[in-house]
């Protein structure tokens, strides 16, 4: 069966510090991968998605970047965090045969607080 992991679960970082959040998927090959951010009490904002190794699409211009160094690994990064980067970050995957509009499977999320 497929599983998706995210770490860390919570993170408190000072403004201006770097960020690296990792997401890995097991039990499937060539998945579509996604990073979302969720503000408190709000819906999900799609940040990045990837249809393959080294292929990243950014949906929202921002202070963050994403990379996919391996088929089932997706990394969210920042060189210098801003206060506005605080939020709940969710990684998700879907079967990689469509444009990513079919069922998505989410990780447990990372709660990021920037102080």
């Amino acid at each position: 069966s497929q599983t998706i992991h995210q770490w860390p679960a919570t993170l408190v970082q000072p403004v201006g510090s770097p960020l690296s959040l990792e997401c890995t998927v097991e039990g499937t090959s060539n998945p579509n991968l996604y990073w979302y951010r969720q503000a408190a009490g709000r819906g999900l904002q799609l940040l990045f998605y990837s249809v393959g190794i080294g292929q990243i699409s950014s949906e929202v211009p921002q202070n963050l970047s994403a990379s996919r160094p391996q088929d089932r690994q997706f990394i969210l990064s920042s060189k210098k965090l801003l206060l506005s980067d605080s939020g709940f970050y969710l990684c998700a995957w879907s079967v990689g045969v469509s444009e990513g509009t079919d069922t998505q499977y989410f990780g447990p999320g990372t709660r990021l607080t920037v102080l």
Binding site: L44, E99, T101, Q104, P108
Partner: protein, 114 residues
């Protein structure tokens, strides 16, 4: 901009009652999905209904889709305290990059009182 929006934003009911949540969207879709999120956790897929379907059932869940009104509803029958969560609809939409991707509404927060 968000493609789908849920209504109501919050709903409080007693255990055993039915809960109905609605979702409206703006542009044509290939499918519409409902997800559930427990507080501080990831989203869990509940059900997907395709644009050529009008109704779908899964256990105590019933989803309807009216493409002429660009709306969907999620009905949870005989609710339980464990159904307490936020419920999101997601629709596929064309993003700024020109690709289609899922967009999520702001959710309905359901509280089921024991």
């Amino acid at each position: 901009s968000q493609q789908g929006e849920e209504d109501p934003q919050a709903l409080s009911i007693q255990e055993g009652e039915n809960a109905t949540m609605n979702c409206s969207y703006k542009t044509s879709i290939n499918n519409l999905q409902w997800y559930r999120q427990n507080s501080g956790r990831g989203l869990v897929h509940l059900i997907l209904i395709r644009s050529n379907e009008r109704e779908k059932h899964s256990g105590r869940l019933r989803v309807t889709l009216d493409t002429s009104k660009k709306s969907s509803s999620l009905l949870i029958t005989a609710s339980r305290a464990a159904d307490t969560a936020s419920y999101f609809c997601a629709t596929d939409a064309v993003m700024d990059t020109g690709r289609r991707a899922l967009t999520f509404g702001s959710g309905t927060r359901l509280q089921v009182q024991p």
